[in-house]
């Protein structure tokens, strides 16, 4: 046995790595293959359509007929179109009102859920259900709840003696707007609340103990401890919320289809109606492209929110 150990080990001769082996172990070369599937999808079905959409908006394309270049005509046409401006107004109203209320109720709900209480885990799980269920299907439930004749809300209010006639929820301009905004808030609050709750749990209770000893009121504790520590996550969550509210389509389509008299048409629903139902692809594409400046503004907010967050965590602001 000992002899074997003493024998010199036979080493394979060291040889130069071939060119192919060098390439094979090159990081950039391997990464190329790893990135290929994702990049192919994003190029063919995201980047290319994005560019194509801008091109279509400069043509008079219709369904089944490629269009010719007509310059800015679609946009000039939209500039004089009162329905388009109404949809812009509706979209801004819908986004601002819904996002503001979502933020308020979401933050409040997160603070409530952060307290110690029995059945905490179950409550948190229940709260998130509206976010899980497909939007269209819950929108149908709201459609039935807001029915003009058999609405349970009208019935309850009549039983309580508050009103005498059924409320025409989705048939009246102002009621219809209020209803779709309500449905949007209902769906968005769980997302805001649960993400803010995750942020709240990183705040140390010892800060509140110290503040209580110093005689701070509940409002002061919220204003000077909770809110500053939550600001970074609030910035990100609200950017997402604004972005998805602004481009909302399915809730409106399932509940009102833009009616009554275009009062709930958002830019997304109007572009669907013009492009797919009306068949005028060029004009529809112009309407949806008109959303891009607003989205860019929202993304800028998100960018600066993230920057600020880095700074708060004490990282370099490179």
């Amino acid at each position: 046995m000992a002899d074997i150990a003493l024998q010199p080990r036979v080493r394979p001769p060291i040889r130069e790595a071939t060119r192919w082996e060098q390439i094979k172990s090159n990081r950039n070369f391997i990464a190329l293959w790893f990135m290929l599937p994702a990049m192919a999808f994003l190029l063919f079905f995201l980047a290319y359509p994005l560019g194509l959409g801008i091109w279509i908006s400069f043509t008079d394309a219709r369904i089944g007929r490629p269009g010719a270049f007509i310059g800015l005509e679609n946009y000039e046409w939209l500039w004089d179109d009162s329905i388009f401006w109404l949809s812009v107004f509706n979209t801004l109203l819908y986004t601002f009102v819904a996002s503001a209320i979502k933020f308020g109720i979401g933050l409040y709900l997160a603070l409530l859920l952060n307290e110690n209480m029995p059945f905490k885990a179950m409550l948190r799980a229940l709260v998130l259900i509206p976010f899980i269920v497909p939007t269209v299907l819950s929108a149908l439930a709201f459609w039935w709840i807001f029915d003009s004749q058999f609405s349970i809300i009208s019935w309850s209010l009549k039983e309580m003696g508050l009103i005498t006639e059924n409320i025409n929820f989705l048939g009246d301009v102002y009621w219809a707007r209020a209803c779709v905004i309500f449905a949007n808030i209902w769906r968005g609050v769980p997302f805001v609340a649960i993400t803010l709750l995750a942020g709240l749990q990183t705040v140390s209770p010892s800060l509140y103990e110290a503040a209580t000893l110093d005689g701070a009121t509940r409002w002061q504790m919220f204003r000077n401890i909770t809110y500053p520590l939550l600001t970074p996550i609030i910035a990100v969550v609200m950017t997402f919320s604004v972005l998805f509210t602004f481009t909302d389509f399915q809730l409106i389509w399932a509940m009102t289809r833009g009616g009554p008299v275009n009062s709930t048409h958002l830019m997304a629903t109007l572009s669907y109606q013009r492009a797919i139902i009306g068949g005028v692809l060029g004009e529809g594409a112009a309407i949806s492209n008109a959303m891009i400046p607003f989205l860019l503004a929202a993304i800028m907010v998100s960018w600066f929110g993230l920057q600020r967050r880095k700074w708060q965590q004490g990282e370099n602001n490179d």
Binding site: I30, L32, F34, M35, L36, P37, A38, F41, L42, F45, P49, L50, G53, I56, Y108, L109, E115, M117, A121, L123, A125, L128, I129, P130, I132, V133, P134, T135, V136, S138, L140, A141, I145, F150, W155, V189, T195, L197, A198, Q201, V203, S204, P205, S206, V236, L243, F244, T247, F249, M267, Y272, G284, S288, I292, A298, I299, S302, Q312, Q313, G314
Partner: protein
């Protein structure tokens, strides 16, 4: 102030209430024990129960409408509208045997599973390359993928419709299977990047010294360690697919090919006043698979939802 936030949020445990919060580390208990029960009733339980009731009422109403007999549905005054003593399965029966509903359910499931698997495979590879291969320009690619996440379907559906038509995919399930990944890949890549970053680099260095290839490292070391992240990405992508509406509405025209959300909105809404029962039964049956999935994976769900925001 800021140096107190040393512990990152343990997002998986947020929902279960078992999260190791900062409190557990510095032995502080907060000041909530100073509050009396009546005060907690008014400031905590009352508002909380109102919000929860409002959030859950539409589902109760959906379920109740699905089993109510027709005459009770439209007659609010003879019967108490909030309850029914003689539930009927007529609407559900009609849904399952007199309509294409099972076929629609199958379409939705098929599209969602195929699109999810495609996206997860693509994003695992991409996320690994961005985080661990760190090739030239990896940070830029990461940033672009995040931007892609912010491009909403509502500005893409018109050009995508013409693209889908050119590729000859119009009105086939492939139109959706190939376009959904554009929504899913940015999201899941971002989520998995966060996960892969938490795996110690030393493990990979050991494997490299032992002569493992990058592919072996990925399949034998990184993937087994990131199973929770994969589950999160998978169920969240699945839910997004199930929820998607505008692409399915635009790219599919024949009744047999539709997915559940589109089919219910287009095929069940007719002039009939008695449509509500089957409409609500359809909405309920379309939501149940997701709610059941959610019930099993609550924690993964939250980690997916908050993970995308966190990064």
């Amino acid at each position: 102030m800021t140096d107190l936030r040393t512990q990152p949020a343990d997002l998986k445990a947020v929902l279960s209430g078992t999260a190791r919060t900062v409190a557990a580390d510095d032995h502080s208990v907060g000041m909530s024990y100073l509050e009396s029960l009546p005060r907690r009733l008014v400031t905590l339980y009352l508002p909380l129960s109102i919000i929860v009731i409002v959030l859950l009422f539409p589902f109760y109403w959906m379920a109740l409408t699905a089993v109510k007999p027709d005459e009770q549905l439209l007659d609010l005054n003879t019967y108490n509208p909030f309850w029914t003593w003689n539930p009927t399965f007529k609407h559900i029966h009609k849904l399952l045997f007199d309509s294409y509903y099972p076929l629609w359910l199958w379409n939705t499931m098929y599209v969602a599973i195929c699109a999810t698997i495609l996206s997860i495979v693509a994003s695992v590879l991409a996320a690994y390359a961005i985080v661990r291969l760190r090739y030239r320009g990896a940070q830029w690619v990461g940033g672009f993928i995040f931007l892609a996440y912010l491009v909403p379907p509502s500005i893409l559906f018109i050009p995508l419709a013409t693209v889908v038509f050119q590729y000859g995919l119009f009105d086939t399930p492939f139109a959706l299977i190939l376009t959904y990944p554009t929504i899913l890949i940015p999201f899941s890549t971002w989520l998995l990047m966060g996960y892969f970053k938490t795996i110690p680099f030393e493990l990979e260095e050991c494997a490299l010294i032992d002569g493992a290839s990058r592919w072996q490292i990925l399949t034998k070391i990184v993937l087994p360690l990131s199973i929770p992240g994969l589950i999160s990405a998978f169920i969240f992508c699945f839910t997004l697919c199930w929820n998607e509406f505008i692409y399915a509405l635009t790219f599919l025209t024949s009744v047999q090919n539709k997915t559940v959300p589109v089919a219910i909105v287009n095929e069940f809404v007719d002039g009939d006043v008695y449509r509500w029962g089957s409409l609500m039964a359809g909405a309920l049956a379309g939501s149940l698979p997701l709610v059941i999935l959610y019930a099993f994976f609550v924690e993964h769900y939250v980690s997916a939802m908050t993970g995308a925001v966190k990064e």
